[in-house]
Amino acid sequence: METREPRDVHVLASRMRQVASKFRADHPLSAPRWNSGTYPLATNVQGRPDTKTLVWFPSPGCFWSLSGGCTMCDFGSNPQAQSVDSALSDFDALIERLDPGVQHIHIAPGGSFLSDQEVPPELRRGVMQRVERLRFLRSVGIETRPNLLTKRKLLELINSLPTQVQHLTVGFGFECLTDIVREVSIYKGYGRSHVEAAIRVINAVNADQAHLDITFEVYVMLKPLFLSEQEAIDEALRTIDWCYAAGAETAVLFLNTIKRNTIQAYMAERADLMPPLHYQPPYYRSAIQVLRQLTPTQRQRTAVLGVQSGVLADGMPRGCPLCTPFLLGALMAHNFTRDPSILDHAANSICPCRDAWLEDLLVPGEDLRSRIYHGLEILEQAFSK
C-alpha cells in the first residue's frame, strides 16, 4: 500500500534516475543476440488454444532503456542501427520463413513501436505492408510507451495495416500499479495518467472508424526489484485488477528474470544483502498463485509469459528440478486452455522447494517503503557520480 504523498515518489524517482543513468554509462546494453527473429506464444483465442507469432526486426533499441530506464530490462542496443531498407530486408526474409497460415502476429522490436526514434515512420509502414503477405492474418499486436500513442499515429497505423486484419492490440508495459514501485523500483517513467490518456485515444479512434477493432493489453511484472514474494503477488493482483477495470482486453503477467547489464542483475549479485534487497526472481508457484487468485473472468483473459525471450536471461524464475518442468508446463497449458483445474493440480503439487516458497511468502522484517529507501541508498553508494 502506498503510504506517502506522490511528490515523495517524484523525489525518489529522481534519485533513481541519477543512479540508473550512471549505471547505464558503466554498463552499456548488450548487443542484440539476434537482429531479427521469431518465436510462437501460447494463447487462447475465443476459448480455443491458439498461437501468436512474436516477431522483431533490427532497431537501435529502446531509448528509455538506453538512458538507464527499467531496472530489469536489457532488450539490447544496436548502435550501428541499420538503414530502414536494410531493416525491412531482414524483416522480409523473416516473413518469408513464417508459416503462411499465421493468423495472429505480435510485433515487438524491443521498445516502442510508435517511437519515431526507434522505429521511423517509413519503417513502421514498411513492416505493416510486409505482413500483408500473411493472407490469413487476423490480428496484429504492437507495444509502445503510452505517451507515444497519438490519434494521428494510431490512424496511420490502421491505414497501413493489410485489409485482412480485423483486430489491433496495443500493449503497454505498465508493470505495476503502485507508484513508488513502478517509478522507483522499476523506474518506468510513466504512470496511470499516461495509460488513461492512451486509452482515451484508443476509444476515440474506435469511435471514429469501424474498419477494425482496437483493444489494449497490459504487461504486468511479477516481482519487481525490492519486493518480497507475497508483495509481488499482491502487486500483480492489484495491477491486473486495475487494468481490467480500465478496460484492458487482456493482461500478460511477466515472470521476472535476471538480464545482464541491469540494476536488477547487480542486486542479484549482492549476496551480502538479505532478500528481498538481494534480488531473487519469483517462484513459478507465485505465478500460479496470482492466476488462482484472479476472478474466473480475469483469469480467462490473463496469460503468463516472460520465460521465453529473444534476450537470454542469467537468472530464471525459481523452482526445483522436480517442479520446474511441471509448473512451466502448467503455465503453458493455462495459456493455451485457461482451464483452472490445471492450476489447482500445479498448486497442490509437492516438491522440495514448495516449503521454501511458503517461507518466502512470510512478511519480511522491513516494510516495503523503508526497503525501497534502503535499496536506493545502496544503489547510490555503488553508482554515485
Binding site: M1, E2, T3, R4, E5, P6, Q230, I233, D234, E235, L237, R238, D241, R292, Q293, T295, P296, T297, Q298, D339, P340, S341, D344, A347, L358, L361, L362, V363, D367
Partner: protein
C-alpha cells in the same frame, strides 16, 4: 482495540468481500445497494467504541439512533454516490462526498484510524487517497497483505489452503477435494463411498447458502445429485429463501470444495470463535458461541454458552490461535472468525475461516459493551437472525415489547433488536435474547428504555 484519541472512520464495506473474487459482484451490488446497506452500517458501528466517529455507508441509514446503547452513534455521516458497488472506490470517485470527508478530517487535525468490516482492495484505495490528501492515517492495524489476498483467504479454497499451512490444524481438517465444475462435483459425489456423507461448498458461499449436503446412504444417482444442486441453487436455503434468492448467480459459482461430512450433521455442535490479530498480538480471543444451523449448514443465529465439554472448547481456542499465528506471520491484521465442528462422538474439526466481521462477533461486541468484559461469566444469549417484525417499529422499546410477547420470553429474558433490515415482505431483525442474573436483567430493562450504558453501569 481502538485508541480513542484518534479519529475513527468506520467503513460499512462488508459487501466488498465479494468484489475481488466474483466477477459479477460489482454489477449485482450496484443494483441492490439500498437493500444490502440497511443493517450493514449498524453492524459496522459495533466494532468501535468512540462517540462521534465518521461513518462511511453505501446508503443513507434509516435510523442512526443506537439500539439500546448497543453501539455509539456516528457523529458524521458520508454516503457516496453508488457507481462501482465498492463503497470505498465510490467515495474516492465522488468529489462532493470526498471533499466533505476531507474537510471534516482536516478540521479534526488528529490521526485517523480506519475501522472497516473487512480488509479489501477498496480500503487500500481509500487509505492511499487519504494519505495523498495529506491526512495522517494510522496504517499499523491494517494488514500488510493486499485486500486481494485477504479476499482469496475468504474463499473456501483459499481459506482451506491457509489452514493446511499449520500441521496441527491440517490434521483437524476434513478430507476434501477441489472441483471446478458441477459436472466434476456430480461425478465425485456419485462415485464416493455411500457410507460417507459429503458436503459440497461453493467457493464464495456464505451463511450456508451455496452449501449442499449429501448424507450417508442417501440416493446418490447422478440425476438426483444434479437436481439437488440445481434446486437449491434456484431456491436458496428455506429460512433465508426470500432474502438470499436475490443473491443467486454469484454465491454458487465454482470452484467447489467437496468435503467428507464429519460426525452427524443433525447432532454436531458447531462453535464459532472470533479473534483479533494485531501488530502486537498474534491472536486474541474476542468471543465464542455456538452457531444455530438449519440442516446443519445454514446459519440462522448463535447462542452462548456452548453445549460442549470445556476440554474440546479449549482445543478449539488452541487451534484458532495457531491459525492466528499463521495469518500474523503472513502479515494479516484484523478479524478472524473460525468455525468448528464437534461431532457427538468426540474430536474437534475446523470447518472454515472468515477474515471479516462475523455475525456472532456482533453479538459478542454488544454483550461486552453492555455488560463489560466479564459478561460471559454471568450471562447467556441466543441471537436469531431474520426474525419478522410486525407493524412499524418506532422505538427499540416497541420492538422489544412486541418480541417479548411473540417469542414467549419469561420475565428474566430481554429481547434486543440488533439490526433491522428490509425483508422481502416486511422488516426483519437480528434479535438478541439475553438472560442473566438479576442485576443484568435490570441493566437490560434500562437498555430497552434506550438509556446509555454509561448511565446504567458506568464501567460498561
Amino acid at each position: 482495540m481502538i485508541d480513542t484519541s484518534d479519529c475513527i472512520v468506520v467503513v460499512a464495506n462488508f459487501d466488498e468481500i465479494y468484489t475481488p473474487t466474483i466477477s459479477s459482484a460489482s454489477r449485482i451490488l450496484r443494483r441492490r445497494r439500498r437493500e444490502v446497506a440497511r443493517g450493514l452500517w449498524q453492524k459496522a458501528l459495533l466494532c468501535q467504541d468512540q462517540e462521534g466517529c465518521v461513518l462511511i455507508s453505501p446508503a443513507v441509514p434509516s435510523n442512526l439512533d443506537p439500539v439500546g446503547g448497543a453501539w455509539c452513534a456516528p457523529g458524521h455521516l458520508v454516503v457516496p454516490k453508488p457507481r462501482s458497488g465498492s463503497v470505498c472506490r465510490d467515495l474516492v470517485d465522488d468529489q462532493r462526498a470526498w471533499a466533505k470527508l476531507i474537510r471534516f478530517l482536516s478540521k479534526r487535525q488528529t490521526r485517523v484510524r480506519i475501522v472497516p468490516q473487512l480488509h479489501s482492495p477498496g480500503i487500500e484505495v481509500l487509505v492511499d487517497a487519504l494519505l495523498t490528501s495529506g491526512i495522517d492515517v494510522d496504517t499499523a492495524e491494517l494488514p500488510l497483505v493486499s485486500g486481494y489476498t485477504v479476499a482469496y483467504w475468504n474463499t473456501k479454497v483459499g481459506g482451506r489452503e491457509l489452514l493446511q499451512s499449520d500441521p496441527q490444524v491440517r490434521r483437524s481438517l476434513p478430507s476434501a477435494a477441489v472441483c471446478n465444475t458441477l459436472a466434476e462435483v456430480t461425478a465425485l459425489v456419485a462415485t464416493a463411498d455411500i457410507n460417507q456423507g459429503i458436503v459440497v461448498k461453493a467457493n464464495s458461499s456464505m451463511g450456508g447458502v451455496g452449501t449442499w449436503t449429501f448424507p450417508a446412504n442417501a440416493d446418490r444417482r447422478a440425476e438426483v445429485i444434479s437436481t439437488t444442486i440445481s434446486e437449491q441453487k434456484s431456491r436458496g436455503v428455506s429460512r433465508w429463501k426470500p432474502t438470499y434468492r436475490k443473491k443467486t448467480g454469484w454465491e454458487t459459482a465454482g470452484p467447489y470444495i467437496v468435503e467428507e461430512m464429519v460426525g452427524d450433521i443433525e447432532r454436531n455442535c458447531s462453535p464459532t470463535a472470533d479473534f483479533w490479530i494485531s501488530v502486537d498480538s498474534p491472536g486474541e480471543l474476542i468471543g465464542m458461541g455456538e452457531q444455530l444451523l438449519e440442516d446443519g449448514v445454514a446459519y440462522h443465529g448463535c447462542r452462548y454458552p456452548i453445549r460442549a465439554e470445556p476440554a474440546r472448547l479449549e482445543r478449539c481456542v488452541e487451534l484458532g490461535l495457531l491459525i492466528c499465528m499463521q495469518l500474523h506471520r503472513r502479515g494479516y491484521r484484523g478479524f478472524l472468525n473460525v468455525d468448528y465442528i464437534l461431532p457427538p462422538d468426540g474430536g474437534v474439526w475446523v470447518a472454515e475461516i472468515n477474515l471479516r466481521e462475523s455475525a456472532p462477533l456482533d453479538q459478542f461486541l454488544v454483550m461486552r459493551r453492555l455488560f463489560g468484559d466479564s459478561w460471559a461469566d454471568k450471562m447467556s444469549f441466543v441471537c436469531e437472525e431474520a426474525v419478522a417484525l410486525h407493524g412499524h417499529s418506532a422505538t427499540v422499546q416497541d420492538v422489544s415489547e412486541s418480541l417479548l410477547s411473540e417469542l414467549e420470553l419469561h420475565k428474566d429474558q430481554i429481547a434486543l433488536p440488533l439490526a433491522v433490515y428490509d425483508g422481502p415482505v416486511q422488516e426483519v431483525a437480528s434479535v438478541l435474547v439475553v438472560a442473566g442474573d438479576r442485576m443484568s436483567v435490570e441493566t437490560l430493562a434500562a437498555v430497552t428504555r434506550c438509556e446509555s450504558p454509561e448511565d446504567i453501569n458506568g464501567d460498561a
